[in-house]
Structure formats: C-alpha cells, structure tokens
Symmetry: C2
Subunit: 199 residues, 2 copies
Amino acid sequence: MEKETEERIFEAAQHVFQLRGYEGARMQEIADEAGINKSMLHYYFRNKSTLFQEVFKQGVKKIMPGLMAILASDKPLRAKVEDVVNFYHDVYAENPHLPAFVVHEMNQNPERFREFMQVQHVQFPEEFIEQIEEGVAVGKFRRIAPDQFLINIISMCMMPMIGRNMVQTIFHLSDEDFNDFLEERRKLIPDIIFNGVII
Amino acid sequence: MEKETEERIFEAAQHVFQLRGYEGARMQEIADEAGINKSMLHYYFRNKSTLFQEVFKQGVKKIMPGLMAILASDKPLRAKVEDVVNFYHDVYAENPHLPAFVVHEMNQNPERFREFMQVQHVQFPEEFIEQIEEGVAVGKFRRIAPDQFLINIISMCMMPMIGRNMVQTIFHLSDEDFNDFLEERRKLIPDIIFNGVII
DNA sequence: GTCTATATAACGATAGAC
DNA sequence: GTCTATCGTTATATAGAC
C-alpha cells in the first residue's frame, strides 16, 4: 500500500463523515473505503466517536485559524474582504463537503463546538473591529456593527456552498455552470459588500 | 387529549426530525414526545421513511411557495427584497430549526428534493428576472445575474439562522443578543444589497 | 498489525390481545 | 385505536487466532 493504514483510515473517515454526517456514517463504509477490515478502525481509533472527533476537529482547523489570521492582518479592509472570500472559495474547491459538514455537526452538538473554539483560542480579532469602527467614525461607512459586517461576507460565501443542490435545482445549473457561478462570486461578493448593486 | 393522535404524532415528528435529522431521529423519541406508544407511529404512518417524507415536504412548503410568490408579485424590486428578508425572518421566528433541517436533508438526498420541486411546480419567476435585467439595462444597477442577486439575499438571510451556534460562539451573544442581531438584519440586508457599506 | 468470528446493543417493525 | 411483547436486522464493538 502507498500510505500508512492509519492515514488511509482517517482519509476514508473524513470522506464518509463529511458526506453522511455522524449519524448517517457507517463504520463498514469507512472500512471499505480505506480498503481494510472493520476491526482495524477500532485498533487505530478507539471507537466511532473518537474517530469522528478527530475528523471534526481537523475540519474546523481547515477554516477557523485561516479566517482569523486574515482578519487580524494589517491589510486594508477591502483587501481583507477579498482575502476572506478567496479563502472560503479555495477551501471549498479542495473540500466541497466540509462547510455543510461543520455547520451540521456544530448544530448537533453546540457545546463540543464552543469548547473546541476555546481550546484553539479562536477569537474575533480586535484589529478588524477597529478598522470598521474607524470607517464608520470618519463617515466613510454607514453605521454597521463589525459582527454584522463579517457575517454578511461569510454568509454570501458559505450559503451557496452549503446549499449547492438548492442553487443547482432552482436555476437549473449543471456542475460546470455551478462552478462558474461560484467563481464569479470571488469578485461579486466584495463589490456587493462595499457598493451594493446600485450604481 | 386536546389534539388528535395523528396530529400529535406529526408535530412530535416535526420537532424531532428537524432537531436531529433523519438519521439521528429515533422513533422512540417521537413516540415519547407525542405521548403515545411506539407502535402507533406505524399505525398512522407506515414507517420512519414515510413519516419523514411528510415532515420534509411540509417543511419545504413553508418556505418555497411563499418565496416564489413574493418574487412573482408586481411590487418594485426594493419592496420585493424587503418582503423576502422579512419572510425568511418570520418563518425562522416560528420554526427556528427548519432552515438547517431542509438544507441538510436536501444535501443527503438531492434527487428527492429535485423531484419535489418539480411536482410542486416551484419555478424561479420571470417577473423577477426581468426586473433586474431592466435595472441593469437602464444603467441603474451594476451588471449582475438575477440568480446571483437572489442568492445573495437568501444567503444573508439563511446563513445566520443555520449557523446560529457559530454566530453566538464567535461573538459571545446570548440568546437575546442573537435575536436582536437577527432583527437588525431586516433593515440591514436590503441596505447592503442595494447600497453596500460605503456612503 | 491484520484478519475471522462473535458478542452486544439499539432500532425499526410486526403480531396479537383488548 | 391503543397497548404489550417480541421479532429481525443492523450497527458498533470485542475476542482471539495468526
């Protein structure tokens, strides 16, 4: 085999859990996909729950630290927004099921999510807050709370990724159409956030 | 008992399925919540799958027809956007777990969702498309595809509802704080869509 | 480390009395 | 229509040989 067994198991678990969720995932499917016996799952990871926790942790780690690092950088606000949007779209391109997975499992167990965010020291950066408050203070921006500002960006990034099937169904988009649709949003979202649609 | 058994079962099923998803839901929990015996579930609804289908159908019906009706009305675009935003926030106030439920189950079974949308004749209204294309043609709006326009609105409405725990965790919002946060968005979202944050 | 075989528990579903 | 009792299946998990 090319890869170590443990790694093959983990990657298979990642795929199955992200696709089906904790409750929908089957240890048998993970074993099949890893090309090993079911009992090996228990040898490397104690049980379904611990295997899942590893996958969930690693999933959150693919998003949160990168996002916070962008918000905490010393770039101007417009550049930060562009970076956030590109970051989300890049992560999605590599992990199309990750956003829906994290959101769903976070809803199933909010306490685990909260605890994990604390342990990882994930914090909404002051630098970003001040940048927006200053823009408001000098009359450059309309009065908007920094959390509302950020949630608007994240919403416009994540929702189409999570609701891909809804988008494709309502607008009759092929897979290729949908990819184009998403790519277009890398420019569109910053434009909407700062300028809206009215010229 | 105040209500008919079948109705009590259905309401319990609605609650449990919306909270835990199809795979996570337990027939026993539905029975307990309805205050009846497990076998009654099979008497009124044949099995778990059919009970779920009813709940899912009814969930989609609470959102899609109302949304499409607003888009197809003869109001000006700004009023339509406000109506859509208010509609989503009103639905959420009554059914806080519904958005996340529909999105998750749609992802678990896209084909069932597509089929359901077809049967219900849910279609993206021409009136809305023309309204935006006209605004673009006369130079009032920046060049934007109608589907992108709509998805931006829906994204900003739904994502905080689906990701409530993420929002509350990152920004340290109490339940009351979060409700205020959402209420503020009824005005904020149309403003962003049309004008962005720059004054 | 990896396999086969099996234990154990949970869950959906049914039979049958009342 | 509603209950109790139970069946049959499937899933996780473990024991033990190699």
